[in-house]
C-alpha cells in the first residue's frame, strides 16, 4: 500500500537519526565515567626536588676590589671619583652599589644609605635599582617629605613598582594626606599581587577610614583578607569596620572571633570582642572574652570595669562584686571609685550616703538610672518606692549613646512591660488566666522592638522570658522559651534558662533529661554548669530552694514581686 510505503522510509530515517543522536548523547555522558584504578607498584622515586634557576644571574664582584672601593669611599672619596669604580662596566657598578646598600640597610645604617645614594646620580640610582632603598632609608630616618618625593620619582620611572606605590601611600597616611593616599593606594592595589596586594588594600582601607568612608574601608579590608587570610590584625580591623557600620551582629561577631582565633594570645583582640558582645547584650559571651583578655593582660582597669558591668548585667553578682571592689580600691579616677561604691551599694542593697554621680559620662548616667530605679534609692530618700520616672528619663538620654543604647533600651523595655502590667491591673476582671494573657501581651509588646534590632537576640529572649516567669507566667514563659530555642538552638543562656524554668515548675526529670541531651561543649560551659548545680540543689531534700532566676540588676531595679 502506498501509505505504508511512506512510513517505512520515514521510520528508517528517524530510527537512524534518533540512534545517532542518542548514541552521541550517551557517549558524551560516558565521558563522566571513571577509570577504576587498581593500586599497583610504580617506580617513580618522587623524593628529590629540583631548584629552579633564577632567571637573572648576579654579576660577580671581586671581594678585594669591593673592599678597596669601600675603604676609599669611607675615606671620603666618592665613588664617582674613584677610577677603579668608574672604569668598571655599568652593570658591575650597579651590582656594587646594590650590594653596599643592602649591607647598610641590613645594619640599619639609614643615614649612610642616604649619603651614599645622594652622592650617586639619580639615573644611576634608578638603573641600579637602589632608588627604592633610598626612599625607604629616608622614611625610616624620619624624612618623610623627602621619602615621598623619592618614591614619586621611582614611580615615574617604574609605574608598576608595587612596593614603592604602597610605601608612598603609607607615607601619605602618616602625613595625614588621606585623600591623596587613597588615590595612590588604589593604584597600588591594581598593580600589586599576593601579599603586597593585601597590604595595599589594608592601607587603602585605613585611608578610607580616615576620610569617614567606613563602607569603603570595610570592602577594602575584606578584600585584603582574601589575599592574606592569616593576618589577624586585618580581621580585627575588618570587624571594627563592620561594627562601625552596624552590620548584622552574627556576621560581625564571627569576624571578631576569627581575629581572636588567629591571635589567641592577643589581649587587645579578646577585649575588643568582649566589648562588642557587651555592646550587643551578649553578656555571657562578653564575660568569656573579657576573662580571656584579662588573663593575658593582667591588671587592666578598663577590662575590669567591662567585666564588672558584664557580670552585673548577667546576674553574676559575686563576680560583679569582686570587680567593683577592685575598682573601688584601684581605679585611677575618683569618679570611677565613686561609681564602684555606688554599684557595690546597689549589689548589696545597702543604703549609703554617697556623693552623687556626675552626669557628664553616659556610664554614670546609666548607673544613676539603675540606682534611681531601686526602691528607696540612693539618691533620693524621699521616694520610698523608687523613682521610676527619673530612671526612665535617665535611660532615655542614653539612647543617643552608641555604647549604652542597647542596655538602656533593654531596661526601658522591662520598665514598659512592668508599667503596662501594673497600670492595667484594674482591667483584669475575668480571672487569673485572662490576667496572665494580658500581662503576657504587655511583655511581648514591650520587648518586640528590641527583637528587630541588631543585637544578640537570645539575650532579649531570655530577658523577656525571665520577666514573664517573674510575673507568674510560667506556662507562657516556657512556651516562649521553646520557640526561642528553635531559633537559637546553640544558645547557652537559653539552655540554662530552660533548665532553671523546668526546675522552677518542679519538672526535675524533664530538666535532667534536657541537660543530658545537650552537647558536651555546651554542658561544659559555666552557665550550664551552674544551672545543673542549681537543679541538683533543688532536687536534694533539705537544701535551701533558691529562686529559679538569679537575682539580677533587673529584679533589683524593679522590685519584681515574684522574687
Amino acid at each position: 500500500m502506498r501509505v505504508h510505503s511512506t512510513w517505512i522510509p520515514v521510520s528508517v530515517f528517524f530510527g537512524l537519526f534518533s540512534a545517532v543522536g542518542a548514541t552521541d548523547y550517551w557517549l558524551s555522558q560516558d565521558q563522566l565515567r571513571y577509570k577504576q584504578v587498581v593500586v599497583s607498584p610504580i617506580d617513580v622515586p618522587e623524593n628529590s626536588s629540583v631548584v629552579v634557576r633564577t632567571p637573572i644571574d648576579q654579576q660577580s664582584v671581586s671581594q678585594a676590589l669591593y673592599t678597596d672601593i669601600l675603604q676609599k669611599e669611607h675615606a671620603g672619596v666618592p665613588l664617582a671619583d674613584q677610577s677603579a669604580f668608574t672604569q668598571l662596566p655599568d652593570i658591575t657598578q650597579a651590582a656594587i652599589l646594590d650590594k653596599r646598600i643592602l649591607e647598610l640597610m641590613q645594619n640599619k645604617e639609614y643615614n649612610e644609605v642616604i649619603r651614599l645614594c645622594r652622592s650617586t646620580h639619580l639615573q644611576r640610582r634608578l638603573s641600579a635599582g637602589i632608588q627604592f632603598d633610598y626612599a625607604l632609608a629616608l622614611s625610616r630616618s624620619g624624612q618623610h617629605k623627602e621619602a615621598m618625593q623619592a618614591y614619586r620619582v621611582l614611580l615615574d620611572h617604574q609605574p608598576n613598582h608595587q612596593a614603592a606605590a604602597i610605601n608612598l601611600g603609607l607615607q601619605l597616611l602618616v602625613s595625614k594626606q588621606y585623600a591623596e593616599a587613597g588615590e595612590i593606594l588604589t593604584g597600588a592595589v591594581s598593580i600589586s599581587s599576593g601579599v603586597r596586594k593585601a597590604k595595599a588594600l589594608s592601607a587603602l582601607a585605613s585611608a578610607l577610614k580616615r576620610q569617614g568612608d567606613w563602607a569603603g574601608a570595610e570592602k577594602a579590608y575584606a578584600r585584603s583578607i582574601e589575599y592574606r587570610p592569616g593576618h589577624a590584625n586585618t580581621w580585627l580591623k575588618l570587624a571594627q569596620a563592620r561594627q562601625q557600620l552596624d552590620m548584622p551582629y552574627v556576621h560581625t561577631e564571627k569576624t571578631y572571633e576569627r581575629a581572636v582565633a588567629l591571635a589567641v594570645d592577643s589581649a587587645a583582640a579578646w577585649s575588643q570582642l568582649g566589648r562588642y558582645r557587651l555592646l550587643k547584650l551578649d553578656f555571657t559571651g562578653a564575660i568569656d572574652a573579657l576573662n580571656r583578655a584579662s588573663a593575658l593582660s593582667g591588671r587592666n582597669e578598663r577590662l575590669r570595669k567591662d567585666l564588672a558591668w558584664a557580670n552585673l548585667e548577667h546576674g553574676r553578682v559575686k563576680a560583679a562584686h569582686g570587680h567593683w571592689s577592685w575598682l573601688k580600691r584601684y581605679a585611677k579616677s575618683d569618679n570611677d571609685r565613686l561609681l564602684a561604691e555606688h554599684m557595690l551599694g546597689l549589689i548589696n542593697q545597702q543604703q549609703r550616703s554617697l556623693a552623687p554621680l556626675p552626669q557628664h559620662r553616659a556610664e554614670f548616667r546609666y548607673a544613676q538610672a539603675l540606682l534611681a530605679g531601686k526602691p528607696g534609692g540612693h539618691n533620693n530618700s524621699d521616694h520610698e518606692n523608687g523613682d521610676h520616672e527619673s530612671s526612665i528619663k535617665q535611660l532615655q538620654t542614653l539612647l543617643a549613646s552608641p555604647e549604652w543604647e542597647a542596655r538602656a533600651r533593654l531596661q526601658l523595655a522591662r520598665g514598659l512591660a512592668n508599667h503596662g502590667i501594673e497600670t492595667r491591673s484594674a482591667e483584669y476582671s475575668n480571672g487569673a488566666k485572662n490576667q496572665l494573657f494580658v500581662a503576657y501581651e504587655h511583655t511581648v509588646t514591650a520587648f518586640a522592638p528590641l527583637l528587630k534590632e541588631n543585637l544578640h537576640l537570645p539575650e532579649i529572649h531570655r530577658q523577656k522570658i525571665e520577666f514573664a516567669s517573674q510575673h507568674g507566667m510560667l506556662d507562657l514563659a516556657l512556651m516562649e522559651l521553646e520557640e526561642s530555642l528553635k531559633q537559637h538552638p546553640d544558645s547557652i543562656i537559653l539552655a540554662a534558662q530552660k533548665i532553671d524554668l523546668l526546675s522552677l515548675r518542679q519538672q526535675w526529670d524533664q530538666a535532667s533529661q534536657y541537660l543530658d541531651t545537650l552537647p558536651e561543649t555546651m554542658r561544659n560551659h559555666d552557665d550550664i554548669a551552674r544551672a545543673a548545680h542549681r537543679l541538683e540543689n533543688r532536687f536534694k531534700p533539705g537544701k535551701r530552694h533558691f529562686s529559679a532566676i538569679l537575682p539580677s540588676v533587673h529584679s533589683i531595679l524593679f522590685n519584681d514581686a515574684s522574687i
Binding site: R2, V20, V38, V39, V50, V52, P55, V195, A261
Partner: protein, 815 residues
C-alpha cells in the same frame, strides 16, 4: 516492482559494494572503538600579559604534562620577542620565557584529553610505620604546612577515629573534617594553621590542612595544583591533595568533595607546594584561562595515527587527516565530511516529509554557519539578518527598484547593518557573534525576497509553514554536522559514503506519498484511494512524459497560444506585446484605442502579475475592483513584468495584452467576482479529471484554490458539478451570493473535451493541465497549458489520480 528487481537496482549495488568494502576494511585493519568513539577534549588557552621591565623580563609557568591520565596535544605558543625553554622537574613541566623591552604577552594553547580516576582503598590497609627516609619530604612540616604543632595535634585528638591505624578510616576522618570547613574565596596562600583557626579556607588552605593531618599520621601527602576545566574564562587555579597509599598516589579534593577520586575535567599542572606562575617583579603581570569543552571525534585530532616518533600506529584511512594536511581547520573538515549527509537530510525533509523551506539547500548553509557559532546564536543571527533584509525590502518597496538592483541594494544594506549589529552585540555578550560573518548573507537576502512576496500575498499559513520547515531543516542539518560520532565513522570508514549515495539514489527514485501529503489528502488516503503525490507526479509523469524543452515552451504563454491557434484551438487574442523597456514609449498609443483589457506576464504563474482593466474614465483606467489606475501605474506594472518580477524563470519577461473576457452568463451568475476556469487534466492523451475553479471575494477574484477559490468537481461524462469544496471544506452554494452549485451543468462540455483532446496533440506534453474559460461570445477559450498541473484536483474530485488512471486505461473520455 518485484523483489528481484529491488535487489538489482543501482542503490542496492552501491550498498553491497559499501558493505563489502567495510568488511574488507575491518578484516584488514581491526576495528578500534577508540578511533571512532568521540571523547571530551578541552581546548585550553592561557593568556599572560605584562608590561616590559627595564631589564629582562622573565616569566615561568607550569605547563600541562602528558601522563597516564592526561593527554596533551596541539600545543602552540606565541611569545613575540621572548625566548622559551622548557624542562621537566619532579614538580612538573616548566616553561620559562625571557624577553626584552618589547615583550608584552605570551599565549599558550593546547588540547587536553583526560580520564577520571576512582581509587579503591582496601579497608584492611594499615598505616606503614616503617617508611624510609626518602619519604621525608612528604611527611615533614613546611612553612605553610604544620605537622607536629600543638593545635594540629589537639585537633586530631578531637576527631581521630576509633581505629587510628586504619588508612581508610584516618583518611575518611581527615576528609570529612577538611571538606566540612567553610569555603571562603581566599585568593592568597592560607597555611594549615590559619585554616584550622579560622574554621574556613579556600582550596589551598583546606588542602594544606589535609596534608598536615595526613603527615601527622605518618601518611605521605603532597599538594597538587592545576586547573578545573570548566567551560569559560577564568583566573583561578585549584589545589588538591595526593596521598601515597601502598604504591599509588591517590587523589583527594576536600574543596569540591572528591574522596579518592579525580574527575576527568581536572588538569594537573604541578605537584608540591608551589606557585603556578613566577615572574619578574613589578611588571603588572596578569593572566587568564579560557577553556572550551568539545565533544570531538578522535579522527579530527591532529596527533591521531602518530606515535611519539611520528610513525603511523594505525594504518587505516583517515579522511580528516588528509584534509588537515592541506591546512583545512578541524571545524571546516568536520563540516566538509558531513555535507553529503546534510544533503541527504534535505532530500528526506523535502521529498519524504514534504517540508517546505526558503531555498532548497539553504538550510544546509545556515546550519554550517551555526556549527561555528552554536545553534542558538546561529538561529538568532539568521533571524536578525532576515529581519534586516525584510525591513530593507519594505523600505525600498516604494522606490520600485528593478529586481537585480533591488537585491544588490538589500545585500549592501544587510552587510552594513550586520556589521553594526555584530559589533554592538559582541560588546555586551560573550557569544562569538563575530563568527556570524560566515553567514551566507547573500543567500539570506534571497530568503528575504521570498519572505516579502509571501507577506505581500498575505499567505500567512504558507509563510508559517515555510518558516517552520526551514527551521526544522536547519536544526536537523546542525545535529548532523555536529555529531562527533558521525565524524569519526565517515572519516575512518569513508566507504560508508557509498551507503549515503545509495540512500540518495533511493530517495531519488522514491515516488511515495510525502508525510505532508498524507495530511493534505487524508480523506482520500484513509479511504485507500490511489492518491498521487508530488514525487510520483514529478518522476513518473512529468519527468517521463514532459521534456524540459516542452515544459519551458508551455511556460511561455505566447508561444503556447501560437501553437494552439495554429492547431485551430480557440485562444484569447493578443492585443499587444512589450518585451523591452523601449517599447513602453508606445504604450499611450497602444492603449488609446482600448477600453478594457488584461495585462499578463508571459512566464507568470498562479495569476500573479495579472492586471485587469475594466473600463476607462478620461485619462484614468478602472481596475477590477473599481479602483482608478493611471497610465503611469500601468507603465510601472509593465516595467515590473518586463523586469521579470513575476516570471517563473526569474529572467526578464514579456508583458502582453489580451481582451477582457466576459464569461458565460451561467458562470457569471454563480461566480460574479472574477473569471472562472476549467482545469482539465490529460495524461498521454487520456482525460483523467476535470474541475471548475470559481473565484470568490476572499480569493481576490482569482481562480486560485490556495487563495480561497472554490474547486468544483466536474463529471467527465455529463459535465455536471458533482461536489464543491473550499479550503478543504465541502459546500453546496457559493459563499458570496449563495447560488447553488451542485448539479450545475457546464455549457459547451463536449466542445471542452474536444478542445482538450486537440491540445494534447498540439502540444507534445505527455502530462498536462489545460485551463479553459468560457467567453460569452466565443465560447471555450484555452487560457494556458500547464506542464506541472497541481494535485488538488484529487481532493476536489474526491478521487485519487491513480485510480483514474486505472479506470481510463487507454480510452479517451467522451460523452
Amino acid at each position: 516492482m518485484s523483489t528481484k528487481t529491488h535487489f538489482l537496482r543501482t542503490e542496492a549495488w552501491l550498498a553491497y559494494i559499501a558493505i563489502v568494502l567495510l568488511l574488507l576494511h575491518v578484516r584488514l585493519v581491526p576495528f578500534e572503538p577508540d578511533a571512532v568513539k568521540p571523547r571530551n577534549i578541552f581546548q585550553f588557552d592561557l593568556m599572560m600579559t605584562f608590561d616590559a621591565a627595564p631589564a629582562d623580563t622573565a616569566v615561568s609557568v607550569y605547563l600541562p604534562q602528558p601522563s597516564e591520565r592526561q593527554d596533551v596535544f596541539a600545543e602552540t605558543v606565541q611569545a613575540n620577542h621572548m625566548e622559551q625553554s622548557v624542562y621537566t622537574a619532579d614538580s612538573g613541566r616548566i616553561s620559562r620565557w625571557i624577553g626584552g623591552r618589547d615583550a608584552d604577552s605570551i599565549s599558550y594553547s593546547a588540547m587536553i584529553s583526560s580520564v577520571g580516576y576512582r581509587y579503591e582503598i582496601p579497608a584492611e590497609l594499615r598505616i606503614n610505620p616503617d617508611l624510609d627516609s626518602s619519604w621525608q619530604p612528604y611527611l615533614r612540616a613546611s612553612e605553610a604546612i604544620a605537622v607536629q604543632h600543638p593545635e594540629i595535634q589537639s585537633l586530631w585528638q578531637s576527631i581521630s577515629p576509633t581505629d587510628d591505624q586504619s588508612v581508610l578510616q584516618v583518611l575518611q576522618v581527615i576528609y570529612n573534617y577538611t571538606s566540612g570547613l567553610e569555603t571562603l574565596p581566599f585568593k592568597g596562600l592560607t597555611d594549615s594553621l590559619t585554616a584550622l583557626r579560622l574554621g574556613a579556607a579556600s582550596c589551598n588552605g583546606k588542602s594544606r590542612l589535609f596534608v598536615s593531618l595526613a603527615r601527622l599520621n605518618g601518611i605521605p601527602a603532597r599538594l597538587v595544583g592545576g586547573i578545573v576545566l570548566n567551560e569559560g574564562r577564568k583566573k583561578t587555579s585549584h589545589q588538591w591533595v595526593e596521598v601515597y597509599i601502598e604504591n599509588q598516589w591517590v587523589a583527594f579534593d576536600p574543596t569540591n568533595r572528591y574522596f579518592a577520586q579525580l574527575p576527568s575535567h581536572y588538569l594537573e599542572l604541578y605537584r608540591g607546594d608551589h606557585s603556578l606562575f613566577s615572574h619578574t617583579a613589578n611588571i603588572g603581570f596578569d593572566y587568564s584561562f579560557n577553556i572550551q569543552d568539545q565533544f570531538i571525534s578522535p579522527a579530527l585530532l591532529p596527533h591521531v595515527n602518530e606515535d611519539d616518533a611520528g610513525a603511523t600506529v594505525n594504518s587505516s584511512i583517515n579522511l580528516a587527516a588528509l584534509l588537515t594536511q592541506i591546512n583545512m581547520p578541524a571545524k571546516t573538515v568536520s563540516i566538509f565530511l558531513m555535507l553529503p549527509i546534510c544533503a541527504l537530510i534535505i532530500t528526506v525533509m523535502r521529498n519524504l516529509m514534504g517540508l517546505k523551506s526558503f531555498g532548497i539547500f539553504m538550510p544546509m548553509l545556515i546550519a554550517s554557519a551555526c556549527a561555528f557559532v552554536g545553534l542558538g546564536p546561529g538561529l538568532l543571527g539568521f533571524a536578525l539578518i532576515v529581519v534586516i533584509a525584510f525591513a530593507a525590502h519594505v523600505l525600498l518597496h516604494p522606490l520600485r527598484l528593478l529586481k537585480i538592483p533591488r537585491l544588490a541594494t538589500i545585500i549592501s544594506v544587510i552587510n552594513l547593518a550586520t556589521i553594526a549589529l555584530l559589533y554592538t552585540v559582541d560588546r555586551f555578550t560573550d557569544m562569538q557573534f563575530g563568527l556570524m560573518s560566515l553567514f551566507p548573507v547573500i543567500i539570506i537576502s534571497f530568503v528575504a525576497d521570498k519572505l516579502h512576496d509571501l507577506a505581500e500575498e498575505r499567505d500567512w499559513l504558507e509563510l508559517a509553514k515555510t518558516i517552520a520547515g526551514t527551521l526544522i531543516s536547519i536544526a536537523a542539518c546542525y545535529l548532523c554536522l555536529t555529531s562527533a560520532l558521525l565524524h569519526g565513522i565517515f572519516a575512518v570508514y569513508p566507504e560508508t559514503y557509498l551507503l549515503v549515495l545509495a540512500a540518495q539514489i533511493y530517495m531519488g527514485r522514491w515516488t511515495g506519498i510525502r508525510v505532508a501529503e498524507l495530511l493534505r489528502f487524508r480523506n482520500l488516503v484513509n479511504q485507500q484511494f490511489g492518491v498521487m503525490g508530488i514525487n510520483a507526479r514529478n518522476r513518473d509523469y512529468v519527468a517521463r512524459l514532459n521534456s524540459s524543452r516542452e515544459l519551458r515552451s508551455a511556460a511561455d504563454k505566447l508561444e503556447s497560444k501560437t501553437r494552439l491557434r495554429s492547431a485551430g484551438i480557440p485562444v484569447p487574442d493578443t492585443l499587444a506585446e512589450f518585451s523591452e523597456f523601449a517599447q513602453l514609449e508606445q504604450l499611450n498609443e497602444v492603449l488609446s484605442s482600448l477600453q478594457e483589457f488584461v495585462i499578463k506576464p508571459n512566464a507568470g504563474s498562479q495569476g500573479n502579475g495579472i492586471l485587469i482593466i475594466k473600463g476607462r474614465q478620461g485619462e484614468q483606467f478602472i481596475g477590477s475592483s473599481g479602483q482608478s489606475i493611471s497610465l503611469l501605474s500601468i507603465r510601472r506594472h509593465l516595467t515590473e513584468i518586463i523586469n521579470g518580477n513575476y516570471s517563473q524563470l526569474g529572467d526578464s519577461d514579456t508583458a502582453f495584452l489580451e481582451p477582457l473576457i466576459h464569461q458565460h452568463p451561467l458562470l457569471q451568475t454563480i461566480a460574479p467576482y472574477g473569471l472562472c476556469d476549467i482545469r482539465i487534466l490529460v495524461s498521454e492523451g487520456r482525460i483523467l479529471s476535470a474541475m471548475l475553479r470559481l473565484p470568490t471575494r476572499d480569493s481576490g477574484g482569482k481562480a486560485n484554490l490556495h487563495q480561497g477559490a472554490i474547486g468544483a468537481a466536474v463529471d467527465l461524462q455529463t459535465g455536471e458539478i458533482s461536489r464543491c469544496q473550499r479550503n478543504g471544506q465541502p459546500l453546496a452554494r457559493h459563499p458570496d451570493n449563495q447560488e447553488p452549485l451542485i448539479g450545475v451543468k457546464l455549457p459547451y462540455w463536449q466542445q471542452i473535451l474536444d478542445i482538450s483532446d486537440k491540445c494534447s496533440q498540439a502540444i507534445p506534453l505527455g502530462y498536462m493541465g489545460i485551463d479553459i474559460c468560457l467567453d460569452k461570445e466565443r465560447g471555450p477559450l484555452v487560457l494556458e497549458v500547464n506542464g506541472r498541473p497541481g494535485l488538488e484536483i484529487q481532493n476536489v474530485n474526491h478521487f485519487g489520480l491513480y485510480d483514474r488512471l486505472t479506470i481510463s486505461n487507454g480510452v479517451t473520455q467522451s460523452t
